[in-house]
Amino acid sequence: MSKIIKVGMADLNICKSPDGITTLGLGSCVGVALRDPVTKIGGLLHAMLPDSTVIKNNTCVEKFVDSGLDELVKRMVRAGANKARLEAKLAGGAQMFAFQRNSDLVKVGGRNAEAARKKLRAMHIRLLAEDTGLNYGRTVIYYPETGIYVIKAVGKPEKSI
């Protein structure tokens, strides 16, 4: 029996096929899904903020795109994934409210998505597909067996990338 492992906000986890991995209600946060297509080990990070280096209180590595991806890859490799084979898919990074006043946090969704692209590039992980931006929340489910990333949003047809 396959199961679906749940990842919360500022959280990450790994799974192995046939299991899938999910995170619910991504808003401005991003969900970065990784897998090794040979060993079928997958992982998902639900990060809230782009950059751990500019913030003082950063003991929670899963909160940030950069430190979260480092940790996720480390855990996947420990579980038997090969770093050189990893491939990624990306979702989230929406702007939930039209006008968010706090200037530091304007367009944090877009900055999260950009940070994920940049970090993946730096780690030499291919980004195969993404569904980011706009103004709505997303629930995502990733299946390391196929690499299919299912995206659900309110009032929109389900899609797979």
Partner: protein, 207 residues
Amino acid sequence: MDNNFGFEQIDSGYLDVLKEIGNIGAGNATTALAQMLQRKVDMKVPQATLLEFRDLGEAIGGEETIMAGVYMVVEGDIRGSMMFLLEKNSARHLANQMLGGFGDPNAEDFGEMEISVLQEIGNIMTGSYLNSLSDLTGLKIFPSVPEIAIDMAGAILSVPAIEFGVIGDRILMIQTRFTDDVDIDGFFILVPDLDSYHKIMKSLGMA
């Protein structure tokens, strides 16, 4: 931001004070709602909690619950986020009632009129919440123009969570649920930053 005041200083006594703030704020707001609707609306006992981000979804009844969320940034002596969340069916019900039956109760999406009405309800309710808090503490509180989103609760709450994420690894939240046991089910959430929290305590003679 300079924080000489940290999470470790938050004990049950402080949380009790925050609960009382939720009690007074949400009490006034619930009264405002009851007056608007001319019916009885109950308020549950407020909760003041220091939550891990990953537990946030559970705390509001599931990340995927579709809700109408009215959000405003609070500035002045107290800084942070204020949210008013209504479960989708309650939101539709409230909007229809305010529109005197002109809304479409069976429509899948919310129309422009309904969204505008919900935004105004949110404005009135968060306004009365913050006013009573300001009266109690003598602190100046300036809410921004309210914004509305109708989406999954997790996605809506990611916005105040991210703001809090900048300063800490947990989120301090004063949450009050209100219901009329039939049609209305919603929450108020006040997320003060740590500096404001200290100021609230000081103004109440607690720190």
